[in-house]
């Protein structure tokens, strides 16, 4: 069970990393628009549910820690070393993953980088562990489960039921942050998306990005390409707009569908001499931050909107006023806010 959870987390996690660094010949698709919402919701919910499973698994094998003699042979020593790696890496991976969802970083390393590398180590150590134990797994799966209730306490089945009940409660009370119909039950969810202003939470506020005063008069959108041009706010707001429902999905697992309005990115790019085959880079007014630029290419170019309105209301500073990017099936932080430049690469 835990192995399956780790496998799911590994695959959905790698899909998420791909959002951030896609190969140019295989751009992220634009449809289905909810694909990332689904995979990342599964990643975070499964990851949280695997915390109790991991603790119970480790509990059940605790006596093996005191095996004697500790090392019988070189091979046995290697096996125990691989288990030590598996245990340490798994504990740190799930604990830091959960804490990251809380926007809490009590360490100095790059979470994204280390979460990915520990992912390789955990899944690798798990495969080695399965390779070592395969005959035992085969034997155990071919025998009926021996479940005689002991006279003294909780049976094996009882322990599994209690763990499943706990994991079920945790799942049911957190999944509402990605699965909107269950949001009323989400009493342990770090986020309640619908309780945010305009019905969509933000990860970085305008204050955190260092903005105090906006100076609408000074704002320009520079469009760079074969035929560069500038738009001021009045000109930008006069462009013809479209309206679409796209989900905003955070890598931290929460997601919510919202209605976005603004001109199509493609229209702006065409005027500068680009087309739907162009790679586009958008830049934010932010002076620092890992996500002040992002690249749109492939099928997302034709779908992306430079949004001015969210759920029928003019964007607020926290949501990226005056203009932000929004595209379908795209990790939240890549929908750059506070846009100031669009570049045809």
């Amino acid at each position: 069970m835990l192995g399956i959870c780790f496998g799911i987390c590994f695959v959905t996690g790698m899909l998420s990393f791909y959002q951030y660094q896609p190969w140019s010949w295989l751009p992220e698709p634009a449809a289905p628009i909810w694909a990332y919402r689904l995979t990342q919701g599964i990643h975070v919910t499964t990851g949280i549910a695997s915390i109790p499973l991991l603790l119970v698994k480790l509990w059940s094998v605790y006596p093996k820690l005191f095996e004697w003699p500790p090392v019988r042979s070189v091979l046995h020593g290697l096996e125990r070393a691989s288990i030590a790696v598996l245990v340490a890496a798994s504990l740190v991976e799930v604990a830091t993953g959960f804490v990251n969802v809380l926007d809490w970083y009590p360490w100095h390393w790059s979470f994204v980088f280390v979460h990915r590398q520990l992912g390789y180590i955990v899944i690798g150590a798990l495969l080695v562990h399965i390779a070592v134990k395969l005959p035992l797994i085969r034997e155990a799966l071919s025998k009926p489960v021996d479940d005689q209730t002991p006279a003294t306490g909780l049976s094996r089945r009882g322990l599994l039921v209690a763990t499943a009940a706990g994991a079920g409660i945790v799942g049911l009370t957190t999944v509402g942050q990605s699965l909107s119909p269950l949001e009323p039950l989400a009493v342990l969810a770090p986020r309640r998306p619908r309780s945010a202003p305009l019905g969509v939470p933000v990860n970085k506020t305008a204050a955190e990005a260092g903005f105090r005063d906006w100076g609408d008069a000074a704002w320009r959108l520079s469009v760079l390409g074969p035929h560069p041009y500038d738009l001021d706010l009045a000109q930008f707001e006069a462009l013809s707009t479209v309206e679409h429902d796209f989900p905003l999905t955070c890598v931290e697992g929460w997601s919510v569908s919202a209605r976005w309005r603004g001109p199509l990115l493609l229209e702006i790019v065409r005027r500068a001499g680009g087309d739907h085959n162009s790679r586009i880079r958008v830049s934010s007014l932010e002076r620092s931050g890992s996500y002040r630029r992002s690249t749109v290419d492939g099928p997302q170019v034709g779908q992306a909107i430079l949004a001015t309105h969210l759920n029928g209301v003019r964007l607020t500073p926290d949501h990226g006023y005056p203009v932000r990017l929004i595209a379908p099936n795209r990790a939240g932080v890549l929908n750059t806010k506070w846009l100031t430049a669009v570049e045809v690469l």
Binding site: L91, L102, H108, Q117, I123, G124, A131, G153, V187, P193
Partner: protein
């Protein structure tokens, strides 16, 4: 055997790759600090968390086996919920409300959930007692000589 070797080789390669990347990109991975976390995770788990759990289990041996089983089950379920709820309680209110992050009354919610878990466990315990009584009565009617009944209904 071939399957095992292939699995082992792929696994060893993945482990080596992750480790190599961590050692290669030290400015991102801070390997010394990460190493301390990895060792600390095992120590906290093996030397604190499990012994505390064992001590609780030992303390519970004063309770009669059937009731103990339901208490143990409820404690396992409750512990799982607490693992997730306690960091939330600790972090509550640290973020601006526009993020809609950690704004809930997690302490209150936890109390309600723990109450529900306790109520369900108590209900199941009572049910098992009632069911056993029913069984004992029917056994007594058929075989009045059978004085001893097992503590656990099968």
């Amino acid at each position: 055997m071939r399957t095992r070797l292939a699995l082992g080789a792929v696994g060893a390669f993945a482990m080596a790759y992750g480790t190599w990347r961590i050692l290669q990109q030290q400015h991102l991975s801070k390997p010394t600090e990460l190493g301390k976390w990895l060792v600390a995770a095992v120590l906290v788990h093996d030397a604190i968390l499990v012994p505390v759990t064992l001590a609780v289990g030992f303390a519970l041996t004063v309770v009669r086996p059937r009731a103990r089983r339901y208490i143990q089950g409820a404690l396992v379920t409750a512990a799982v919920v607490c693992v997730v709820a306690i960091p939330l309680i600790y972090r509550r209110g640290t973020q601006p409300s526009v993020k809609a992050l950690e704004q809930q009354n997690y302490g209150g919610h936890l109390v309600v959930l723990l109450g529900l878990i306790a109520a369900v466990a108590a209900g199941l315990y009572v049910l098992s007692v009632v069911r056993e009584r029913g069984q004992r009565d029917s056994v007594t009617k058929v075989r009045p000589s059978a004085g001893q009944t097992p503590d656990v209904p099968s």
